[in-house]
């Protein structure tokens, strides 16, 4: 009866002992072991099943993956005194869990240290560059459409020496130099968002509006100018067409007149007197009508025989 009475508690005890002396490490974890609160051995990175002393040793798990860090948006003045919101993000990982555990205890502690470090370095970096350097990455020349040529900030010459990506790299470099003392490796820092503070944004919008208005005005006036030019062209082309038509017509007529004159001269030149006689007869005949008075002398050739035929 006695063995049977103790069987159940013994089994339970054995299971507890077994569970307390093994632990698993996931693919995404790393672990340190403490014995009565004191760290024993190094970090355990290898995923799988592991053994430890039961009850006296505790397992502290830390993530092995890249962890998130989302910096609070900060209002920072740039070197050229423009106030902007700078929102960075970073990725970090725990490279030395033991030191991490000792220095900041857990992720919350790590995040708060990173806040200080990354925000501080961001502030330093942003404050030592002009806004243009922080926004742009290089000296790429903007493409400008015909409508906008000559107007607008798009044509302002950029002179970017460092550039956005490089500034982020500077922040990373400086911050990453501090973090190893917390067992943290900072793997990347990047500008997530950069935006104007409200008052500056208002001014920027006003500038954008006035710039657009200038573009619109110029466009309209260009249209009117071009239209006037076309109207002028129209006048020119019309006058050119009609006058060149007139010129050709006159030349044609002149040439024909000359040719006709030559023909007449050659023909009538045979006997100018006869031509004069015939033409006179024709003209006399043509000018006579019923309104005309015809006064003839009896001396004329026609009436030679009127008075007497006796000759």
């Amino acid at each position: 009866m006695t063995p049977r009475r103790f069987l159940v508690p013994m089994v339970i005890g054995a299971i507890l002992l077994a569970l307390s002396s093994i632990y698993t490490v996931s693919e995404t974890e790393q672990v340190i072991i403490t014995q009565f609160g004191r760290p024993v051995g190094g970090a355990i990175n290898r995923p799988g099943i592991h053994a430890k002393l039961p009850f006296v040793q505790d397992v502290h798990r830390f993530d092995k993956r890249w962890l998130e860090f989302n910096g609070a948006a900060n209002e920072i003045p740039t070197r050229d005194k423009k106030y902007i919101w700078v929102d960075t993000y970073a990725r970090w990982r725990i490279t030395d869990p033991l030191r991490f555990y000792q220095a900041v205890r857990d992720e919350r502690g790590g995040q708060s240290r990173l806040d200080d470090i990354v925000d501080g370095e961001t502030r330093n970096a942003v404050a030592s560059f002009d806004l243009l350097e922080i926004v742009r990455s290089g000296n790429r020349k903007f493409q400008v459409t015909e409508e906008l040529a000559g107007i607008g900030s798009a044509e302002a010459m950029a002179n970017v020496g460092t550039g956005r990506a490089r500034i982020a790299a500077i922040i990373l470099e400086k911050a990453a130099r501090i973090t190893p003392e917390f067992g943290i490796e900072l793997v990347d820092v990047r500008f997530k968002r950069i935006s104007y503070v409200d008052t500056v944004q208002q001014k920027v919008f006003e500038r954008m509006v006035s710039e657009r208005k200038r573009i619109a005005e110029r466009s309209r006036s260009e249209g009117q100018g071009r239209a006037a030019e076309i109207r002028g062209q129209k006048e020119r082309d019309m006058l050119s067409a009609s006058s060149s038509g007139y010129k050709s017509a006159q030349e044609l007529k002149g040439a024909a007149d000359a040719q006709a004159a030559a023909i007449y001269a050659r023909a009538y030149g045979r006997d100018p007197e006869l031509y004069q006689f015939l033409k006179s007869m024709e003209t006399l005949n043509a000018t006579m009508d019923d309104k005309a008075w015809l006064i003839l002398s009896t001396d004329s050739e026609l009436f030679k025989y009127l008075e007497s035929d006796a000759r």
């Binding site: 890249w66 990047r190 009896t298």
Partner: protein
């Protein structure tokens, strides 16, 4: 039928007696549940667009392809990763209800994703989507915590970096395609750098606008450009209405002059030939021909005249008046 359970006096707890038959039933049920649990825990199925990543005691063991599979119960766990599925992330807006009439919403936080500074220090509102695929399930699961947020931030940072190197006009109009391509490349570069196991398939710009307070001014520019084009078109229309016509009229004057020239020369030649022909005959008998023509002309000429007076030099004193026609009437 048994009555209510007798819990006995306070401080004592009495389990109702279990008969052997009941005990057997309980054991059978427990055994079935146990077997079922083992079976359910060893069987899993991977859908066609997924792979299964199996971990034993937390350590990566293997990746399994679509189909039914077995694993060790309890000590192995499986995570299914949709590696074939095209995933989509939206920036600056959210699709609330996809369908024939897709609904979008945008809270202030979501709107803030789209507001960015352009390279000419202006502001643009850029909405875009990223379509991506999980290329490496293992890195996707084990390399980065909160992949979704990380990927979202990477995408925002890439887009802002690219937009930061373009002018507001490029962002809104001519540079859209180039920007989408550059942002995609930058995002893929970051993915490789982070080892996030994602392949960016497409990055597509959606609505790209100037900020709301500036929109009317931008529209005004468009309107002004339209006006400009209209003014030019109107002027050309006017030109086209008048100039071809003037050219036609000039052409008409030339043709007409050509007609005149032909007529003039033909007439001259006709007249000349007529004269020459006449002259040939005339030369044979000039005197009589001349007289004949004179008298013929007079013969047709005199009857045509309205009034005829024939004066005799010798009868000057009496002023003879001859009325030869019926209408002849001398007014005082």
């Amino acid at each position: 039928m048994r009555g209510p359970v007798d819990v006995g006096p306070p401080g004592q707890f009495r389990v109702p007696p279990v008969t052997p038959a009941q005990a057997r039933t309980i054991r059978t049920v427990a055994a079935i549940i146990g077997v079922l649990a083992v079976l359910l825990s060893s069987y899993y199925q991977v859908e066609p667009d997924e792979v299964g990543v199996v971990q034993r005691f937390g350590a990566y063991a293997r990746t399994t392809e679509p189909g039914p599979h077995l694993k060790f119960p309890f000590i192995e766990g499986v995570t299914k990763v949709p590696v074939q599925r095209q995933l989509k992330m939206e920036f600056g807006f959210r699709t609330v209800l996809a369908g024939q009439t897709t609904e979008y919403s945008a809270s202030p936080e979501v709107r803030a994703e789209a507001v960015m500074l352009t390279g000419d220090l202006n502001v643009a509102v850029v909405e875009w989507i990223v379509q991506y695929r999980i290329r490496d399930a293992r890195s996707f699961l084990f390399h980065i915590r909160d992949v979704e947020e990380t990927f979202r931030f990477m995408s925002e940072a890439s887009m802002r970096q690219v937009v930061g190197d373009h002018s507001v006009d490029e962002v809104i109009t001519i540079g859209r395609e180039a920007i989408a391509l550059l942002a995609k490349d930058e995002l893929q570069r970051l993915c490789n750098l982070y080892g996030i196991g994602i392949e960016v398939q497409q990055l597509v710009l959606q609505d790209v606008n100037p900020p709301d307070p500036v929109k009317p001014a931008f529209n005004e520019v468009n309107q002004a450009i339209q006006e400009k084009e209209r003014a030019i078109n109107d002027a050309w229309a006017d030109y086209n209405k008048s100039v071809p016509r003037a050219k036609g009229e000039a052409e008409q004057a030339i043709r007409s002059a050509e007609g005149y020239a032909l007529e003039r020369v033909n007439n001259a030649e006709g007249d000349a030939h007529r004269f020459e022909a006449f002259h040939d005959e005339y030369r044979k008998a000039p005197g009589v021909t001349r007289k004949r023509i004179y008298l013929e002309t007079m013969g047709t000429l005199i009857p045509k005249a309205g009034r005829r007076l024939i004066l005799d030099e010798k009868a000057r004193g009496i002023l003879p008046l001859l009325q030869l026609g019926p209408t002849a009437e001398v007014k005082p």
